[in-house]
């Protein structure tokens, strides 16, 4: 991505938020066509985009937004009513804006096709008025101001006082004045305000303020909207001085700005306006500030990553400190005592610090779930299905990087549910179900992990059909017959799909195996449940954070290995009678009538000196994706949170290992990848 100017970056960030807001508002508006607040919301969104695009010199985008804004004005004024077609059109407009933004960061091209198409549609809706946007933000030579008031319309008086550092911050009052010009005929007077004498004059400080007399057919709201954009830190006021007769009756009359009207550029010193101009009139309604008085701050995720690394290292160092203090205590009891106390206090602070940093990185799953509404809506429309998406637990929080990595798999699973799961309304009615299919996204915390459930009430997965398909693909031997739950598991096999043609929605070659791999890459687990005719539930279990792992440390010979606690069910020392050998299935451990495969890690990893007799050692029972296994270890050493170090940072992905961590003595211990080993 090319290096972007700070202003442009800010604009892009703001647009991201605006676009999400727009989609939300449009979807609500679709359900509630009379919801005026949403129309305003959408209007403000496009208005802001227009203004911002102008400032960062994205002319085409600004012009486009201006056209859409025109359509929205008609919606606001009631000239047009909100219809599903208009909603679709507006959603398409957000897509066009998105393509513009992607083009700016070099991630795609502007969707000119859709742009032209939507512009034409807007033109048609506005009754043949060509959608040619007026020029934006270009300094134009001013003609002599026409002092005659408009035949219809109102007269407004504006007072524009800017923050003295406005110029230093890169602000340009002219832009605001030009914007106002767009709304009608404006006469502006610059007042010397705090202009000092020449010797003490700082040209970068804004000393002037302006009063503007604006003849416009537009309502007060429109003017407020323009001001809103420039509002931050500045002090603006706008009053209706005289307007269409029915409004004026309610307003106090104010002496109009009577100094000789002079247009830009600001004139030499003028006598100050009559004090009466500042007469109390019904206050212009409080203007919403565009950027809320920030109680929040945008932070680059890289910074958070670095912070987290540092904290992780502090935790590791602390563990080592602890060990050293233990050693010291053996030599000098008194000193050891002192240090011990300190180390404990220190540990408290470190854990607190770690917790807080982790908290900072948490984002609500809402950001992930909400865009799904649009996905579902678009799909349902296109494929003539009726699908309702319900969301629960959107405020459940998860680490930002997990949230980002979750996006792809989530979209895929939802699309699968819509494509393969939910039947057409006719099929559903025949099956005695309501014609509208349900997809439910549910998120909640459970035992220190986040569970994300995607549930549909569609046709479910047929274990027999799966097996048949697997046999056709050579993934399953002809005579092999699996149990239902194992058959379901085949869905995750690479290269699997139950549709002969590749569906345009589910994509090419991106199967459930990719989803499973991506979730496992985050040290999460995937579980699938299904009932034919009733529906399917996919359950993703994810750690709260990628950086720290609750783990069980085990010894294998001289080596210490780390097992993610998420996968551990129990551990026990099997009796010799519990260990069985079955032909064709290897060694098994029988636990409460369940037979679990025994995994001899010492063999797989080539570790010398490990105990080979299970009856003299321990097995740790682990579970992954509906399957349990028993891992043979010598001893369980400890259970605690460890800091995950990525192997690929300096090496490669190693089969069987999910990462590494540094133990108290400073040595490296590998984290087992349960998914790969079992």
């Amino acid at each position: 991505m090319p290096q972007l100017s700070g202003l442009l970056e800010e604009f892009l960030e703001e647009c991201e938020d605006i676009l999400t807001d727009l989609e939300e508002a449009l979807l609500i508006l679709e359900a509630e066509p009379d919801n005026r607040a949403q129309v305003d919301r959408v209007f403000r969104g496009f208005h802001t985009i227009k203004g911002g695009a102008g400032i960062v010199e994205l002319g085409e985008l600004s012009d486009y937004a201006h056209v859409v804004e025109g359509l929205l004005e008609q919606l606001r004024s009631g000239a047009l009513a909100s219809t599903p077609e208009i909603i679709t059109l507006l959603l398409q407009a957000t897509d066009v804006v998105k393509s513009h933004l992607q083009h700016v960061v070099g991630a795609g091209d502007i969707n000119h096709e859709l742009e032209t198409q939507t512009l034409q549609a807007v033109g048609a809706l506005q009754g043949g008025k060509t959608a040619t946007p007026p020029p934006q933000e270009k300094p134009e030579p001013e003609s002599a101001p026409a002092a005659a008031p408009a035949d219809t319309g109102s007269v407004y008086l504006l007072h524009l006082r800017f923050h003295p550092d406005y110029l230093k911050q890169g602000g340009e009052p002219l832009l605001l004045l030009e914007e106002l010009e767009q709304l009608g005929t404006a006469l502006a007077i610059a007042h010397p305000g705090t202009v000092p004498d020449l010797e003490t004059l700082d040209p970068d400080t804004l000393h002037l303020w302006w009063s503007v007399q604006l003849h416009s057919e537009r309502p007060l709201e429109d003017i407020q909207n323009v001001l809103m954009f420039f509002e931050q830190d500045n002090d603006f006021s706008v009053e209706l001085v005289s307007g269409p007769p029915d409004e004026t009756a309610e307003q106090a009359l104010i002496a109009q700005g009577d100094s000789p009207a002079i247009s830009e550029p600001p004139p030499p010193v003028e006598p100050p306006p009559p004090a009466a101009a500042l007469q109390a009139a019904p206050e212009a309604p409080k203007l919403d500030t565009l950027t809320s008085l920030t109680q929040s701050i945008r932070v680059n995720v890289d910074r958070l990553d670095r912070l987290q690394n540092l904290v992780g290292e502090t935790v590791i160092n602390h563990a080592r400190l602890h060990q050293i203090v233990e050693k010291l205590a053996e030599r000098d009891e008194e000193l050891g005592e002192l240090l011990h106390q300190f180390v404990e206090d220190h540990e408290f602070s470190i854990r607190e610090l770690q917790d807080q940093i982790l908290q900072v990185r948490m984002v609500a799953l809402e950001h992930l779930f909400m865009p799904m509404r649009r996905t579902v809506r678009d799909y349902a429309q296109r494929h003539d299905k009726q699908i309702r998406l319900s969301i629960k637990g959107a405020d459940t929080e998860i680490d930002k990087s997990i949230s980002e990595q979750l996006h792809g798999p989530l979209v895929h699973v939802v699309r699968n549910a819509m494509d393969h799961g939910i039947e057409t309304p006719e099929e559903r009615q025949q099956a005695g179900k309501p014609p509208e299919g349900q997809i439910q996204l549910n998120a909640y915390h459970q035992e220190g992990y986040v569970v994300v459930e995607i549930r549909d009430d569609g046709r479910g997965i047929d274990p027999q059909a799966i097996q048949a398909s697997a046999r056709r693909k050579g993934l399953l031997a002809a005579e092999q017959q699996l149990e239902d739950s194992e058959a379901l598991h085949l869905v995750f096999a690479p290269g699997f799909s139950t549709r002969a043609e590749v569906s345009e929605v589910s994509g090419r070659g991106v199967g459930m195996d990719t989803v499973k791999r991506e979730i496992e890459g985050m040290l999460g687990t995937v579980q699938l449940e299904s009932e034919i005719g009733a529906g399917t539930t996919l359950r993703l279990r994810l750690p709260l954070t990628l950086a720290i792992l609750e783990a069980m440390l085990v010894r294998l010979g001289p080596q210490t290995y780390t097992i993610p606690l998420l996968s551990v069910i129990e551990s026990l020392q099997p009796k010799a009678t519990q260990v069985k050998h079955l032909k064709g299935r290897g060694e098994l451990v029988e636990i409460r009538n369940e037979y679990l495969p025994l995994i001899r890690l010492h063999q797989r990893f080539g570790v010398d000196g490990a105990t080979t007799n299970p009856a003299e050692a321990l097995v740790v029972v682990v579970q992954h994706a509906n399957r349990k296994s028993a891992i043979l270890v010598d001893e369980i050493l400890d259970q605690r949170p460890v800091v995950i170090k990525n192997l690929e940072d300096n090496f490669i992905q190693v089969s069987g290992l999910a990462g590494a961590t540094i133990l108290g003595q400073g040595e490296v211990s590998f984290i087992l990848d349960i998914a790969q080993l079992t």
Binding site: F605, F651, I652, E667, V668
Partner: protein, 198 residues
């Protein structure tokens, strides 16, 4: 290289009895090390090390640091023998490769003087176990010669050339090739076959 490439205070000016004053002399001078003027040509600085009987060199810019042989090396399952294992470098988990084993030489004895050279290739830090480290030398480009096949113990694929420096032959090691994505990929595949399933 007979001229003094750095302008240092003359030894007579040192005051052994007053070390601070001696150090202060250095502070006052602006030490300039003009490599090009000193060595009179284009070239690279190398760190040389011994591997068996032969002397090798690695460009100093690729070297992050030198460490003594680590206390613990954790072996990585499924890796070829020349991947000794992972170590903890002040919080970084990095792999260490035994260069002798990598080039199919007999294994060496590890002791206090065994050095691990930490190289930085792309964004990765990787350690190389060598017998011992010798001098830093400056190798002028024009002195670098092509390798004759079979003239050295190790595969010429990973060598950039040879040079004669101070009457000794130095073989220039191409660490970037040694740890290229292709090479690392080969190592990865080696691991896969061993570990996954019985």
């Amino acid at each position: 290289m007979t001229e003094n490439p750095m302008s240092l205070p003359t030894p007579e000016a040192y005051q052994p009895s007053n070390p601070l004053a001696t150090l202060a002399m250095f502070d006052e001078q602006e030490l300039e090390v003009d490599l090009e003027a000193a060595y009179g040509g284009q070239g690279t600085q190398l760190i040389t090390f011994l591997l068996g009987e032969e002397r090798y060199g690695v460009e100093i810019v690729k070297i992050r640091e030198l460490i003594s042989f680590p206390e613990t090396i954790t072996p990585i399952p499924g890796m070829p023998k020349y991947v000794a294992g992972m170590i903890n470098l002040r919080g970084l988990v990095i792999p260490v490769v035994d260069l002798r084993l990598r080039f199919e030489m007999p294994a060496g004895e590890y002791h206090r003087f065994t050095v691990v050279i930490i190289v930085q290739i792309a964004q990765k830090c990787i350690g190389i176990i060598v017998d011992s480290v010798s001098d830093v030398i400056f190798l002028e480009d024009e002195h670098l010669q092509e390798i004759q096949e079979d003239s050295t113990n190790i595969d010429s694929e990973f060598l950039k050339g040879v040079a004669c420096v101070r009457e000794e032959m130095v073989i220039l090691l191409d660490v970037e090739r040694l740890f290229s994505p292709e090479e690392l990929g080969r190592i990865a595949r080696h691991g896969t076959t061993l570990v996954e399933g019985n």
